[in-house]
Symmetry: D4
Subunit: 248 residues, 8 copies
């Protein structure tokens, strides 16, 4: 459902052709398209402000491709996260415009290049190994129309690497901090900036990092009060929330 379609509904409502309840129902209650194994929700654009995004993992290449094909009939950007090369090959057959961002494990169909965010979103990583999760955030931010800056490998054990880039920290409207191991970076960044900080724990580490649990706990217990947290390795989720804030 494009915005044009939405506007038509609203005009029909204004002209009296649609009762208020009918208009509301059309706009909020539906529609979704039933593929049998998945309910494609074209309407999500309106409700949360973005196109439906497909989580690739746990779906077959064919399922992903058929969902993308169904979404491709409309005019917004499409994003497949946690995508594999197998997913991409099959999607490309049905939707030739699809592109693969390997580092980010993401498939993108780009149709809309407008910048919708009012400021810049900064993506920071503690180490080089946190980059795949950060790249997922960067691709998502781009697809959702944000200006993005990034700063990689600036972990807390070498604080000067971070302090030297304070201007870039202060220029951001929202900051996404991606860190594994002890997950201390969001606390430090949170103390340096006045923007909201979205912390993404990663599964980077070994031993008592427990696949990201140590970083997750560190971030949840952050002594900086401008920090919120998303799931381990969830670069996509962090980018969605950052986009929402950046549009306000």
């Amino acid at each position: 459902m494009t915005e044009q379609q939405i506007l038509r509904i609203l005009q029909d409502f204004k002209s009296g052709q649609l009762a208020p309840d009918e208009a509301l129902d059309r706009l909020r209650g539906l529609p979704f398209e039933d593929l049998g194994f998945a309910n494609v929700d074209h309407h999500r654009t309106l409700r949360v402000g973005f196109p439906e995004v497909v989580l690739g993992s746990g779906k077959t290449a064919d399922q992903v491709a058929r969902i993308v094909e169904a979404m491709n009939r409309h005019d917004h950007n499409i994003l497949v996260t946690r995508a594999t090369t197998e997913h991409f090959v099959r999607v490309k057959e049905l939707v030739p415009a699809a592109e693969f961002h390997e580092a980010a494990r993401a498939i993108v169909v780009r149709k809309d290049d407008r910048i919708l965010g009012k400021g810049k979103v900064l993506v920071i990583t503690a180490g080089t190994s946190d980059m795949p999760v950060a790249e997922e955030a960067v691709v998502t931010l781009n697809v959702m129309g944000n200006h993005v800056d990034s700063l990689y490998d600036v972990g807390v054990a070498g604080l000067h690497r971070l302090l030297d880039r304070r201007d870039r920290l202060n220029a951001a409207r929202v900051v996404i901090v991606v860190a594994g191991m002890e997950g201390a970076l969001p606390s430090v960044v949170g103390g340096l900036v006045s923007a909201p900080v979205i912390a993404v724990p990663t599964s980077v580490g070994y031993g008592a990092s427990f696949g990201g649990v140590a970083a997750l706990l560190g971030m949840l217990n952050s002594c900086a009060s401008n920090v919120t947290v998303v799931n381990i390795d969830n670069g996509y989720g962090a980018a969605v929330v950052a986009s929402l804030i950046n549009r306000q």
Copy 2:
């Protein structure tokens, strides 16, 4: 450091009396007041946009009171979280203007009533027992200059209680969802609104709720992508982030 002092620095800089680096240093690098057992950070106002807040738990009544007294020499609002009656009695002796919000376990010294947020923040709870955490968020939001709406006891097992108030959901610029037990409410709310949702797990529940862990995990794994999470029972932290977003 009051805003007047800050402005003087900025003017000295404009007039050339202060070099850029000097101005920056004065503004960002300092100052804090060393009480021996605590470093009161008057400057935090500038850096994260709010007054220093005192975490009451783990501090003696005397420590809390002396920190509040030090902060009281300036012109911003003061907030003590996780405060007990003992804390309040001692604070009241040194700072008579202090007020106690019992349900929220918060002491407030109110000096500044301006509304700084651009929209309304909505605070929702799943059950009646989640109210103390929600009240901590509400008090914090008020102290930080936001319009606040609240909706209590609208848990997911009686969905109509929530669906009937959709207009109030849609009117909010940020939504804070407070829930214990299975913590499912943020996912449902996240699907209904396009605003950012900040989820606060509470320690309400018994048995396999493990003091809020079940709710925390539920929220971290939310299938709604506009949800971020703060620590268990951290109503204060959710309110700080909501305020930051609401001011943008």
Copy 3:
């Protein structure tokens, strides 16, 4: 032990040839067939109302095939759960009537097509990735003689997908809800229906989903009181209990 044999015992009892205690003992106390590595329990039909079911995982193809062969001498349906292609190939050699349900990872030998359940069992999933577990439940329900309906990909972040199918929810005598990630769907469904809800957490998710633990905890702490829970990914167990209820 076929039902014929059971009837003979009962007739002998009625005619006085068997004392009540003797009849009971024969019926309830035995018999099983010792294959050395497994005790096939033909009698289970009587005791829990269903044929013995073989758990494929952890058994060699040959062990599974020999157990199925031993069971095949009798007249009830046979079900192998968690079966692999290797299991199936070997079973097929010994029992040509066997069929493989790949999505459900189940081998079935169908001998009895009667419908024994009094109503319909509805199987719901939150996402597309939960389908293998749901399919295991569906196959089991079919083998045990139930009418089955299913509704896939109706997770709580897009509530309208569920609310639009309320008639099908209300038509079910028992509802099985299969969900990974935060496992919130059973609570919502539990609030919408008056039937018993059996919740099946799945290992779908990543990061802090901990292989299904987040979903499991969410379901155990459900605020809907008509919800009970089975083990992670245990579609089979949910279907057995649903069948028992549906026959009453």
Copy 4:
């Protein structure tokens, strides 16, 4: 909302005074009564077949009493679980008909003595210390109109205590098994009966029982496939599901 009121809506619908949607809306969408801190859901009777039940823990005596008072204007039984003496004293002032079941920690207002269940529900405990949870189940079953039988202290280390009462096991339409420590009893009972078994882990035990976690895990991993599980110490929840099954 009494059943009379419900019938009137249905008749208005049949006579054409109410459109189908209106009828449905009235019946399913509402009503609840907003007490500010709680939304009393009189309608729940229709949706899940029972009166609203109040969870006492986490609520003040006054909150509980005012909720019970609001519910008392209607004609169904009222149940407060996890109630304290303080709760009861205040409830008794506003609703003199209230009774306190101390062992079960439950307050009951009895208005309806009809037996609605079709068979008998059997409540079993492994040990004497599991009795409070079992009693909560028994009181709930009584309030919801079931015939109840009980068998206490028949844990698996003295199997003859259980085997000797096999007739009572076989006479039950649903069996609730309450056990702490290793939680093995539901598996054994599940193998002996053909009825559905609802397992309730209790926090009875010490050391590596981890407040009921050992029992919970034991029950979730039960090798008997007719077993489902509810939360630790959740005697109430087990009774609700048993009642639903027993009414079918």
Copy 5:
């Protein structure tokens, strides 16, 4: 220390050249053979009554083979646990008398066939999938000179399979019970026999069995007081303790 040396000490003791305490000290306080990467402890026979046993996992094929070769210069049985085919191939080159017990993942060099245990040790499993762990115990018991009986696939959900073999339960001097999933079998067996029961949790199961943790907790919390527990999948350890008891 070779056996010759040991004999000399014993003869010196017999002839009065060594006081009892001196002889004991020499025998118990030392010695071992240093291979650089491993200290082969030939003397262990004397101290804990058995030959040194090699844990295969975590060692290279060459390390295992060289340790076995060093041990082979003496006259006791040799046992390698958690052995792979690679281990065996290399051991066989250096010590041709070695045999591989594949189901038990054990390499054995048999030199001493004496029966040293005074009674019979019974090994029981709950399911077919628990057999590899049970077989490790059986091989170890044989190598250590015990009469062994075994009873497989007699889990608690089909109690009659166990009750029918009560004579074999009662004939055992020690019982080893191997079980995964809920680990309930040791409690039931513990209540049926007066012998000590050694419980071995296995990693058999899925979902909330957490690789044997559920079974382990079940066994530690057993309500039968004649039960002790060893590590998950530790069939070897159970057999060692059973052997020690059986020799007394």
Copy 6:
């Protein structure tokens, strides 16, 4: 059931008055005495070789006293574990011969002073704080007719304290090792003796000892293969198994 009664059954059997099955049934299948809230199992003496023991915790003083009173009609020793002063006061009223061992939290009614164990059982603790658990083991061992030796505060950080008492270690037929914190003592003792070692983790410690979990895990992973483990703080269970072994 006294031994006299048992003998009479056996003589009736020998004289032909009782068929073999009848005798077996009387001896093994029963009897227990139903107190409503507890099934007192007088027969346990025969089955596991000891009197029924009452777990005090979770029972009211009156329940404990009535169970002890019922048991007191027979001739074996009675033991109440996890007893409080309240329990004792009430028991003493009904059974004046009862004695309270405060350090062990145990009530004992002593009727039989025979020594039944063939050797000595040694109880060792790592620290002074582990003594209550050790004392529970000592009292139990005495009640069950064993010679007992004890060695307290000989933890592994001061190894000479242990090595100096090697003679007492070697004199024991079974060793019980009680330790909190890191739980390393059983491994060290296990390497020094050839007797079976029963390890009892205690909840002594703080921080990452997690109420005994660290000690429990240490013991389960012991590199000494003659070690088995019981539940945290379960001095009683360790003593029961030690008694069983010591009688063989």
Copy 7:
């Protein structure tokens, strides 16, 4: 072993009556004083370079006092950690020179004021609430003869508080960092100094701090490689290791 005895050994060694190895053996291998419930290890001074320290928790006031009395016959400092007022009152009766450091929960008997450390040990805390653990470290460091500096409430969310005191950081030979919540401070300090950093997690925090587990995991996963960790709240242990390093 009194110091006189130790001196005699040393003189015998000097005079040639004892070979070096013999002297060492006598000194290192033994002795301790057996109080029945505790083995006082006067010799520890020699072996690990410090007096025996008494852990107060888990011991009765009388046990603590009698141990201190036994130690008081010698000339080194005495330290009781985790001491209560009850402990102190009883110790003071037997050893009047004892002093109580309430904030540190420590009893000290000071006999030796020599400075043995070669440099300064710096103790840092993240927050005011971490002070009790830090004070335990400070008292221990003093008793063991170190120069001590301290810096409290310099957590990572206000980095300037730490960066402003860089000179004091660089002046330390060993740094102890005490932090609860996310435990990020040791990583930041570790990156700023070249001295070894000993991290002490504290149980300060709430919710997902899990009594210090979040801080502990953060420290174990520190990206600064000069950080080692001790148990939660173990200020004493950190101070012992710092003293050992400071004496080298």
Copy 8:
């Protein structure tokens, strides 16, 4: 940055060419070299006394090689930990002097052979399987200029293997103890030596060892107070701290 460069800065400062702040800034605030994906920190030598070390895991072969190449322009030793053969092949192409220590999974570029440590560091393992972690420590210690001794396979179940080498224990200035399973060895070693002990838990073990958690907890709860702990399998970290101590 070589030491020559550092000295020049210091001389420029002394001669007045550099102001104090400038000198400090050059020395402490920088420099690092930005490779886009990594910030190489040549200066670390000064700050923590060692060259930058590259963590291989999570980086591509090309990333590792380019980092090593950048570091190779300076004069200190280079160490890559957790390196694979793939890493090495690519590094060797760019830096031919690189060597691979396979057992230690480490790449070394050796440029500086000076011994900087004042004494000997002893590395001990409990078992043969702990060797890879120990070897990582040994290589790191060598690269950092220490004399190293090692003692492998001396676990606590065969205490004589350790006691026989007491002289080597006492000769060490720092001891690193590497152990999996129950992790008891550091406590025993801690009681035998007066040097600081750095404990390294390893992931060696099975079942309830939980990938090193059992060993980690054992070490954190050590009753020997001269023990600190690093992350599971972190041989590198232990060696860094040992080097720092050994240089003092």
